[in-house]
Subunit: 254 residues, 2 copies
């Protein structure tokens, strides 16, 4: 049970941190995942711990891209499974996306724990652990190159929340359209993806589901138009400006 | 053996991260310490992963302050012991400072592991584990209020790298001159300390040792002049501006 009082000015951030530590204790999250969460906390702090205007427009583009996909796949790692397993399942069911577990710091036990968590949240067919359908992505030298040939390998659109730069680049080179969640608008992942949602995954995933629901009533042409009007580079610049403005504001208060 | 591909553009930062993870495996670092390291990584990234001009001038002031001290004490926690035990010992021997172990997430076993690490690096008299010389600091409600009466309690200058805001404030209220290392120039610790070195402890501690060596040849008056010319608030503003400038630069490159 959490000891964090709801009145704490940063209670939300501390509760997210507790989820991660719990995920670590339950064998979902790697030690490196705790560090990654720390990095995210710092950027979220600089973004004011809220979903900004730029993030909202990236979420809209991401929803359009997922709805236009022939075979969308959501790639899940330990931190994602610890932070928003319910939302991943909701998004997959709503859009017909497949779910695949893929880890940078590979570990069969941890993989199985992640699969179990996703299953417990109502999604039975999780890819990424069947060695019979394993294949490899080129241009990547970690365990992450191993993917499922019926999942990420065959996908046209891949949602890779909280991903590292090498893998994002390899997926892009493999011809996939890449959607990511990354709180650092300057990271290689952010710069490499086609659509980067600069937002905390615990806030943004919910908004993405809502946007998918909303846009599912639109026709193909309207969805394509949303994508045409989205410029990831420009969107990232807007996020960087949001951070700069926050720094100026805080400097004045300090 | 390291799993980090040498081709990775941020291998150095990843290797520091591995030191922390190793420290965690060896019972030095708490889970929360891994998250804290992650937050530090993000700010270091925004500072360009180099020691800036503002940090150099804070290091100079810190060296002067330590050399002027009657009883300087270096407070060591798990992250510090994992990242720079050799440097802590060098600094202590060079300046006659005492070394005291003090933990936020207290744990006798972890304390003993930290003491062992410092001893292994050549410093035998580590304070903070002798219950006969325990006493408490007022105005702080975690295990960190327990200090050694011959160490931090008696000190006039305390070096507290990677410290939390509550304890920094309590030490300041107790009349100590506080020197800290903190990569977030906006944190309460940064804002509370007398001298805040906004730098990665793995870079800055070495520079602090060099500066102490250099300034040890100066007389008291010169050292006092260095301190008089140092303004922590102004220095923090300069660090925030460095971050803003880096964001602008990277935005242009991206």
């Amino acid at each position: 049970m959490s000891l964090i009082p709801k009145s704490h000015p940063r209670a939300k951030s501390l509760l997210i941190r507790e989820k991660l530590v719990e995920g670590f204790d339950n064998g979902l999250v790697a030690k490196e995942g705790l560090l990654a969460q720390g990095r995210g906390e710092a950027f979220d702090y600089l973004l004011g711990e809220k979903t900004g205007k730029a993030a909202k427009s990236a979420i809209k583009a991401a929803a359009a891209q997922i709805l236009l996909a022939k075979l969308p796949v959501i790639s899940v790692n330990g931190n994602v499974a610890a932070l928003c397993p319910k939302e991943i399942v909701k998004l997959a069911k709503l859009t017909g996306a497949k779910v695949e577990v893929n880890l940078f710091y590979s570990n069969q036990k941890r993989k199985n724990n992640i699969v179990k968590t996703i299953k417990k949240n109502g999604f039975s067919e999780v890819l990424g652990t069947n060695s019979a359908s394993k294949t490899t992505l080129k241009g990547i030298d970690s365990a992450r190159r191993i993917v499922d040939k019926n999942g990420i390998f065959a996908a046209d659109v891949v949602v890779v929340p909280l991903e590292d730069g090498d893998r994002t680049l390899a997926l892009r080179k493999a011809g996939k359209k890449i959607i990511t969640f990354d709180l650092n608008p300057l990271s290689r992942t952010s710069q490499t993806a086609h659509i980067t949602i600069v937002d905390n995954v615990t806030r943004g995933m919910d908004l993405l589901i809502k946007e998918c629901k909303k846009l599912s009533k639109k026709n193909k042409k309207s969805l394509e138009k949303i994508l045409e009007n989205f410029d990831n580079r420009k969107n990232l610049s807007e996020n960087i400006n949001e951070i700069k403005n926050n720094l100026t504001k805080r400097l004045r208060i300090a």
